[in-house]
């Protein structure tokens, strides 16, 4: 008997995507907030707070993509072509965002241009990721193991709305990150922005929670049939508690608590999605098991992954530790 590796790969893929969303989420959120910052010194500080870590954070995106290719190639070959243009927009956005980190400190006259590239790149990448998420929930039309739609099927009100929701989500992560990493007037400003973003996030969580079961009867049944409704009832309760914690910790002036509350909100939303979509990797037609590759390929990478991921967490943790505490505007190159 061959060990069923699909659950392990599902977990690895889920963790990679979630790590990406959390970590690059706050980078991108800081990017979106960039032009609204009170002054140029604040912008320097904001950028310095993410400059040492953005590259590692973005690496989770590659791991998510490659993990899906390795473990679920059928899904990879349907989802990415179907999302041809959102993926294109995301990549181009990430390019502008990424080079802005390096070009902005070197630029003299065109500094403002790279400020804009940083903000628009972050915004476009975030919105595109939101559309990718929205289309994922909406589902892909398939016949057999092939995609049966076109490259423009993602244009749907639900998809476009989820894009806006994710922008609020990343801004919440970015603003609470800044609350944690900065002090003084910039921190005050970030608190105010975090509160606005929190309201937006909660509105979109409610909207998606209502709209998703309306889109798909199967999802409605998953949540509202007995005994599932009892099992899953903690999800909205925990969401409410986390929202309250985020709001009150912002009001109380805590440093780190709002960021953790925001991450908690992302976690419960992510779990909510998993509950809605499981066991599909190509919603709502191809399951994780149907899309899985030959176990020979999965097993080889799995061995390395299980050994290396703990090591990676250790040294990534160390690099965050080196840059711990509050950042200062002049903490750039030296």
């Amino acid at each position: 008997m061959i060990l069923d590796l699909v659950p392990i790969w599902t977990a690895i893929l889920a963790v990679s995507v979630f790590m990406y969303v959390l970590l690059d989420g706050f980078d991108l959120g800081v990017g979106i907030l960039f032009p609204f910052a009170p002054d140029d010194k604040a912008r320097d500080t904001m950028m310095a707070s993410v400059a040492p870590v953005w590259d590692g954070n973005e690496t989770w995106l590659v791991m998510g993509g490659v993990g899906m290719l390795t473990a679920f190639p059928v899904a990879f070959a349907i989802i990415f072509p179907a999302l041809y243009f959102p993926v294109l927009a995301m990549l181009l956005g990430l390019i502008f965002r990424g080079v802005a980190f390096e070009f902005r400190p070197t630029a003299v006259t065109s500094r403002a241009k790279w400020d804009r590239a940083f903000c628009w790149g972050s915004l476009v990448a975030t919105y595109a990721q939101g559309c990718i998420l929205g289309k994922f929930v909406l589902g892909f039309e398939t016949t057999g193991r092939q995609y049966a739609g076109s490259t423009w099927d993602w244009l749907h009100p639900f998809v476009l709305a989820v894009g806006v929701g994710l922008v609020f989500g990343y801004v919440l992560l970015g603003a609470t990150w800044l609350v944690m990493k900065t002090e003084g007037s910039l921190q005050q400003w970030a608190r105010a922005k975090a509160r606005l973003a929190l309201i937006g996030v909660l509105a979109f969580i409610v909207m998606v929670s209502v709209w998703t079961p309306l889109l798909h009867e199967r999802i409605a049944e998953r949540w509202f049939s007995w005994p599932n409704i009892a099992w899953f009832s903690p999800v909205p309760v925990v969401t409410t508690l986390l929202a309250l914690w985020a709001w009150r910790s912002l009001a109380r002036g805590s440093d780190a608590a709002p960021f953790f509350a925001a991450m908690g909100l992302f976690l419960v939303s992510y779990l909510g999605l998993a509950i809605s979509l499981f066991p599909y990797i190509v919603p709502h037609s191809i399951t994780l098991w149907e899309a899985a590759t030959a176990p020979e390929g999965q097993a080889f990478l799995l061995i390395g992954t299980l050994f290396l991921i703990p090591v990676i967490f250790m040294y990534l943790g160390w690099s965050y530790w080196v840059f711990r505490g509050k950042v200062r505007a002049d903490a750039g190159y030296h």
Binding site: A51, P52, V53, D55, G56, E58, T59, V62, M63, G65, V66, G67, L69, T70, P73, V74, F76, A77, I78, F80, P81, L83, Y84, F85, V87, L88, L92, L94, I95, F96, G98, V99, E102, F103, T106, A107, S110, Y147, G149, S150, T151, T293, A294, E296, G297, F300, L301, G304, T305, I309, I312, Y315, L316, W318, S319, V322, F323, A331, G332, H334
Partner: protein
């Protein structure tokens, strides 16, 4: 519009631009690690200044390499979905290991290398430089393993239209891998060496950073003196390997149409794919047989013995190879010239030489790009040599318009980003080296007075 041709153009465009950056940063990461090590060992301030200078340039180049590199795996998904689906069990894990062993390593320690000099002890900063350099080499290892497997596939069986690995060692160390890996790493080291030499020569001509520039030129030519000749030997081995495993590619590289014994080395010609012959051919009799089979009368198969639909585009393969060789000759010429000048103690003062060295900065980049085109175009019409045709690898429902739109945006964005990046790199070079030495990190205070003296 043909989505296949456009997708190929898009992939070639994206990878060619991406490759400029690792071609520079792999070597530069190792160079920075060496400089940081030299500084720790000798405490010579010039080493630290050179290192700090190149770290800034490394940061800009590496950032551009990261953003243009992230695009690549997504190309497999968006434009080459059938390739992805069929090769996933092999290519997926190889790219996965690249991420696990290289990208995270580089990313985590790059932050410390760039911004952490004041925050960590000097040894930890040096260790970070070494780890970043190792990361870039690991990355080259895995991505060239994947590429070599596509060139000379091994260690798999074909089940239900998919490649299934049966022997991972055979997959990773496929027949062309050892040659391709060595050849590529030497090529990118040379690219960096001639970039460093060229920048230092420019400084010397302008009378700036004299001490540092002399160190850079000396280090660059010491490396080149070993690697330029070595590359000829490695290249020869690589060619013989191609003859065995990809004879059609080799015939296109050499421009040989007729099979036979005692084949000439064709220096220049205009290959004509319709008439199946060369125009204006200049060659040296029997030489190709000698270096390919190590026998004056050795047998080499010509292109005519391959069906037309299994031949690569001859002209591109043929000329790209010759451009690469020409660049190698320039590097060889500069290296010999440098030694001649050194013997007369004029290495750092000869204006003509320094000018030539500065103008030669592009040779490495041209050589690696031409070499890449030789090997990739020479692999056509296959994407997995002998098993999967490029035409059968593309995403089935993609339209020409879709790809035209994405290609247009990529070209516009890359023109802007790479244009700006190149401009900023030039500005960093113009700005020159930091006047003040970077402050060292928080070394632990010696517990006893003596330990400071004995360290």
């Amino acid at each position: 519009m043909d989505p296949l041709l456009l997708s190929r153009a898009q992939f070639a465009f994206l990878i060619a631009f991406h490759f400029f950056l690792p071609a520079f940063t792999i070597g530069l990461a190792s160079y920075i690690a060496v400089l940081e090590g030299l500084y720790l060992w000798t405490r010579r301030a010039a080493c630290l200044r050179i290192s700090a200078f190149w770290i800034r340039i490394f940061a800009v180049s590496f950032g551009m390499g990261v953003v243009s590199g992230i695009v690549m795996p997504f190309q497999f998904g968006t434009n080459w979905s059938r390739y992805s689906e069929q090769t996933a069990a092999i290519v997926g894990p190889l790219m996965g290991y690249e991420g696990l062993t290289a990208f995270f390593l580089e990313a985590a320690f790059l932050g410390v290398l760039l911004f952490g000099r004041k925050l960590v002890p000097p040894w930890a900063h040096f260790a970070s430089a070494v780890i970043v350099a190792l990361g870039t080499l690991f990355s080259a290892f895995w991505i060239l393993a994947a590429n070599s497997w596509m060139q000379t596939p091994a260690g798999f069986e074909f089940v239900d239209g998919r490649f299934v690995p049966t022997d991972w060692l055979a997959v990773i160390f496929s027949p062309s891998f050892p040659y391709r890996f060595t050849h590529t790493v030497v090529a990118v080291y040379l690219t960096t060496a001639f970039t460093v030499i060229g920048v230092a020569a420019w400084y010397l001509r302008h009378g700036r950073h004299v001490e540092e520039s002399r160190i850079m030129i000396a280090m660059g030519f010491l490396l080149a003196s070993v690697l330029v000749p070595a590359q000829a030997v490695i290249g020869d081995f690589h060619g013989v390997n191609t003859l065995h495993h990809q004879p059609a590619k080799l015939a296109a590289i050499e421009g040989i149409w007729e099979s036979g014994h005692g084949q000439p080395a064709i220096l220049l010609a205009l290959p004509d794919e319709t008439l199946e012959k060369n125009h204006a051919e200049i060659g040296i009799p029997k030489l190709a047989s000698l270096y390919l089979t190590h026998d004056w009368n050795g047998y080499v198969k010509g292109l005519k013995d391959f069906p037309r639909e299994e031949r690569p585009p001859v002209a591109i393969t043929f000329f790209a190879f010759r451009i690469m060789i020409a660049m190698w000759l320039v590097m060889l010429g500069l290296t010999v010239w440098a030694w001649l000048l050194h013997a007369r103690r004029r290495l750092f003062t000869s204006g003509a030489f320094l000018r030539a060295a500065t103008y030669s900065i592009p040779v490495g980049y041209i050589a690696v790009t031409a070499g890449w085109f030789t090997t990739e175009v020479g692999r056509q019409p296959w994407v997995v040599y002998g098993h999967l045709r490029t035409a059968d690898a593309i995403t089935p429902f993609l339209t020409g318009t879709d790809v035209a739109i994405s290609l247009f945006f990529y070209v516009v964005v890359y023109a802007a980003i790479f244009g700006a990046g190149f401009y900023y790199l030039l500005r960093l070079v113009q700005r020159g080296m930091p006047e003040e030495l970077p402050e060292p990190g928080p070394e632990r205070r010696p517990a006893r007075p003596l330990s400071a003296a004995t360290r």
